[in-house]
Symmetry: C2
Subunit: 474 residues, 2 copies
C-alpha cells in the first residue's frame, strides 16, 4: 500500500495489459468499447481514451476505424512476461502426492503418448450412437438446459443400472441406485457417509492411486492388504488387518483390480464379505472394470454375496461407454438416502442430458454386443503390449496376465527406479505411471503401469522400444 | 443362515419377483431368456424353466410364442409389497439436517409447486440456443463421448470466464479458473483445500443452507455474522468474530445474499477483504447470484478488492444459463493448482460436451442482452410476489426488497412457526423453505424463503393466498 498509486489511466491500461499477457485476450480479439470500459472501471470516458492511446503507442492494441480497438499481433519483445505465480499449499503433501502432481500434468499434455491413462482410446467408444441419442433427447426435451434431475437422479437410468446389477448377481431396486459424477465421486460420497476424519480405511496393495488420494483428502488413514496379480485380494490378510486395527470401511476392487488386473474368485468374495460385514464393516466396491473382464460374462459383484446391506457397489460408464459424460453410480441398500443427500450437498446433481442419453443407450439394447467387441479389442492390444514388453524390456522384467481391465502391471528388475523411468520417459514424450503411487507406503519402486487402451500403432511400438531402452540404461 | 435354504428354482424365481416388486421390471418388459438366465444364475436350463413356469402360474409373467417371457400386467393382489428399508445413519444429524431431508424430498416431488427452489423456471433459460450449440459441438467433435477434459477444464471456457471476471472488476488469467460441477462443487473443493477437519469457517446469517451442510459434511465448525437485508454483511461483526475465534476460511455472499437478496456495498467489500486477508484468512466468495443483480451491471467481485490472492470466487451457470448443465468454477490466484488436483481426486473432470457448448455460448455474444431480459422477468415476478405477500399474509409480515437474486425472504409475525407452515404447505402441495435451515443455530423460526423464478400464474397466486391463510390460522 506504500507503493506510489498508479494514475487512473495507468490502472485501466494495466487491466488490458494483464489480460493480453495472460492470454485472456488474444491477437485480433476486440477489447471493450471506451464506453463499456468506462462503466466497468468506473472512470471517465476521457481516462479510458487516454489509457487506450497509451496501449496503442505501446503497440499492444490497434484501432480499426468504425469498429473499435483490437489486440495487436504480438511482438514478443513488447509483451510483459506473466509473473510467476506463487502456489500456496495449505495442506502438507506426501511424497507420493507430489509425484502424482507431475503425473497429472503429464496426463493433461497433448504431446505425450498416453500410456499413463487406464482408458481405451476415444475411438473405441460408441460415439456416433451416443451423438444420435443426444440429438433425440434434445428434440424430446426442449427445456433440458433448465431442468435439474435431483438426486438420486434419472429414474429411467437407475432402472437400467438396476437391471445390469441383476446380471452380476445382485438384483437391485432402482431406489438403491444413486447417480454420481463418475465412480470417483461415488467413492468420495461413500467415504463422506461412512467415515469420520481420523478413521482408518482398508484398501488393497497395489490399488488405484485415486482411491488413496480420495482417502487422504477425506482426512482418513489407510491399512493395506495384498492384492496378488494371480488371485486377487488376500482374504486372510483382510481378517488379520481387521483384528489388528479398527476399520471404518473397506474399498475393494475384486473384479479386475487396477493396476494388477486380477480377479478375486467367488469363494474369496464370499469369504471377504462375510469377514467384513460380520464385523460390521461396510465395503465400498469399485466395480468400474468389471465389464472389461475377459471372460464370457461380467464377474459377480461383491453385493451378490451380501446379506447385510453393508456392501456399496460403485460403477461408471467411463471405461466402456462414455468417459467424457462423467456419469457413475453407487448402489446401496442401507445408505442410498444418505448418499443422495451427500450428493445434493456436494454438487447438487448430475447433468440432465447425459443421464437421459445413457438411459436410452442401455434401453435400446446392443450394449453387451458392443462390450464383446471392446473387450476383444483391448485383449488384442494387451497381447501386443505384452509381446512388446517381452521383446524390448530388460531381462528379469515380469508382467501380469490381467483377467480384465485395460492396463498391464510391469515389474522391472529391482535395480530400476520407476520414478526415474517416469521422468526420462516424459522427456521422450511417453506417459507412464510409476509404481509408488499405487500404495500409501510408496512401495513398488520398480513397477510401472501401462495403458492397453490405445490402438496398436508404430508410435506405440516405438514408445515401448524406447521405454525398454530407458529402463535398461539405468 | 439357519433358515431353510430355498430350492434352486425358487432362488431364480425370487430374482425376477424382486425385480418386478421393485419396479426394475415393469409390465410388458421382456425378462431374460432361459439361456441367459441360466448363465447369470449359474443353474441349469431346466431349473430356469421350472422357475419361469412357477412365475407364470403365479400370474407374474406371461409367455409370448416365438418371443419369450414378459412381465404381466400386475394385479395388485399378487404383487408382494416391497419391504420397508431400514435407513442406517452413521453420522448424527442436527435437527436442521433432519428438517432439510424433508425439504429435499419436497424438491424432488413433481406435484409440489416449487416456491422452494431459488431458481428461474426452465422456460426462462436459453434452451433452444443451447440445443443448437450442442448440435454444433456434436458435429465438430465426433469423439466427444470418449474425450475427457482434465482439470482445470476446457481452455476456451476458462478464457470466457476470465473475460467475465474482468467485467466484475477482477481481471483474471485463464489458468486461475478451474471448471467444477456447479458452484457447490466449487465451494466443497475450496473447503477441502483450505481447511482441515475441526477448523472453523465464518459464514453469514442467514446464509444458503447448502453452504452450512457442505461445512458440516467437511467436519468443520461455524461462526456466524449478520447479513442485513438492507446493506449486507456486517463488517464490524466480521472483525469481532475473527478476533474472538481462529477462523480457517470465510464463505461470503456479498452480491445478492441467498436468502436476503442484499448487496454489500463496495466500501464494505473493501473493508471485509482487508480485515480478513490481513489476518491471513482466505475468503470463498459465492458469486452465483451476482449476474442477477437488478442494477445496470453486475456488482464487483470481492476479488476486485484483493491484493493478497486469498479471495477465491465461485460461480456457475445454474442461475442464468443452464441449471441442468451442472457447470461452475472457482477463480483463484494462489490455490488454482490445488483446487484442480482436489477436483481430479473427487470427481476427475466435468462433462466434455457442456464445457464446449458453454464456451461457444459465451463467445458467440448476446449473454448480456439475454441477462437483461432475465433480470427484468425476475424483477416483475418479484414485484407480483411482493404484492401477493402484502395482500394475503397476516398483519405484521415483513418482506425484503432484494437488490438481486431470485428469492424473497419473508419475516412472519413472531407467533408463526415456519416449520409448521412448511409442513401444512406441503400437505397443500406448495413447497417453501422454512427459515431455520438458513442458520447453523436454527434461528429464523418465523421466516420463510420464497422463489420468485416462476412465471406469474393463477396457480402461483392461489398458492400465495393459501400460504397466507395457513400462516394466519396458526
Amino acid at each position: 500500500m506504500s507503493a506510489p498509486q498508479p494514475l487512473l489511466y495507468e490502472r485501466v491500461a494495466r487491466i488490458i495489459e494483464q489480460q493480453i499477457a495472460s492470454g485472456t485476450l488474444r491477437s485480433h480479439d476486440r477489447i471493450p468499447s471506451v464506453r463499456a470500459m468506462s462503466r466497468t472501471a468506473r472512470v471517465s470516458v476521457s481516462t479510458v481514451v487516454q489509457a487506450y492511446l497509451h496501449l496503442e503507442s505501446a503497440g499492444l492494441i490497434t484501432a480499426r476505424p468504425q469498429s473499435g480497438f483490437y489486440v495487436s499481433v504480438p511482438r514478443s519483445d513488447c509483451l510483459p512476461e506473466p509473473e510467476p505465480r506463487a502456489v500456496h499449499s495449505t495442506r502438507p503433501r506426501s511424497v507420493v502426492g507430489e509425484v502424482l502432481d507431475t503425473c497429472l500434468e503429464a496426463m493433461c499434455r497433448t504431446d505425450v503418448l498416453p500410456l499413463n491413462c487406464a482408458m481405451a482410446s476415444p475411438t473405441f467408444y460408441p460415439n456416433s450412437r451416443l451423438s444420435n441419442l443426444t440429438r433425440e433427447v434434445l428434440r424430446d426435451h426442449p427445456l433440458h438446459a433448465g431442468e435439474i434431475l435431483m438426486p438420486p437422479g434419472d429414474l429411467d437410468l437407475r432402472r437400467e443400472i438396476a437391471k445390469r446389477m441383476a446380471l452380476v448377481g445382485s438384483p437391485t431396486d432402482p431406489d438403491e441406485v444413486i447417480i454420481t459424477s463418475g465412480a470417483m465421486d461415488a467413492i468420495t460420497l461413500a467415504l463422506r457417509v461412512l467415515c469420520k476424519p481420523g478413521d482408518t480405511v482398508l484398501v488393497e496393495s497395489p490399488t488405484y492411486f485415486g482411491i488413496l488420494q480420495a482417502i487422504e483428502y477425506s482426512g482418513l488413514k489407510v491399512v493395506e492388504v495384498v492384492n496378488r496379480p494371480t488371485d486377487g485380494i488376500d482374504v486372510e490378510g483382510v481378517r488379520q488387518a481387521i483384528r489388528a486395527t479398527p476399520v471404518a470401511a473397506a474399498i475393494l476392487m475384486p473384479n479386475c483390480n487396477n493396476p494388477t488386473g486380477s480377479l478375486t474368485p467367488d469363494a474369496a468374495k464370499q469369504a471377504l464379505v462375510t469377514a467384513l460385514t460380520d464385523a460390521g464393516i461396510p465395503i465400498i466396491e469399485d466395480e468400474v472394470h468389471g465389464d472389461l473382464y475377459r471372460g464370457v460374462q461380467s464377474p459377480r459383484s461383491l453385493r451378490a454375496f451380501d446379506r447385510s446391506g453393508l456392501v456399496l457397489s460403485c460403477g461408471s460408464v467411463s471405461k466402456t461407454i462414455a468417459a467424457g459424460f462423467r456419469i457413475g453410480w453407487v448402489v446401496s441398500s442401507h445408505f442410498s438416502r444418505e448418499i443422495a443427500r451427500a450428493k445434493f450437498f456436494s454438487s447438487l446433481a448430475c447433468p440432465t442430458l447425459q443421464q437421459r442419453v445413457l438411459a436410452r443407450y442401455y434401453a435400446s439394447g446392443g450394449y453387451d454386443r458392443f462390450l464383446r467387441g471392446l473387450r476383444q479389442a483391448i485383449a488384442v492390444n494387451t497381447e501386443r503390449m505384452t509381446e512388446a514388453v517381452r521383446r524390448y524390456f530388460p531381462k528379469g522384467t515380469k508382467i501380469t496376465q490381467p483377467a480384465g481391465g485395460v492396463v498391464l502391471w510391469v515389474e522391472l528388475p529391482p535395480a530400476v527406479d520407476s520414478l526415474e523411468l517416469f521422468r526420462s520417459a516424459l522427456d521422450a514424450r511417453i506417459g507412464i505411471f510409476p509404481g509408488i503411487v499405487f500404495s500409501a507406503t510408496a512401495k513398488y519402486r520398480n513397477y510401472i503401469r501401462l495403458n492397453c487402451g490405445l490402438p496398436w500403432s508404430q508410435a506405440v511400438e516405438k514408445a515401448m522400444e524406447r521405454l525398454g531402452q530407458l529402463a535398461a540404461s539405468q
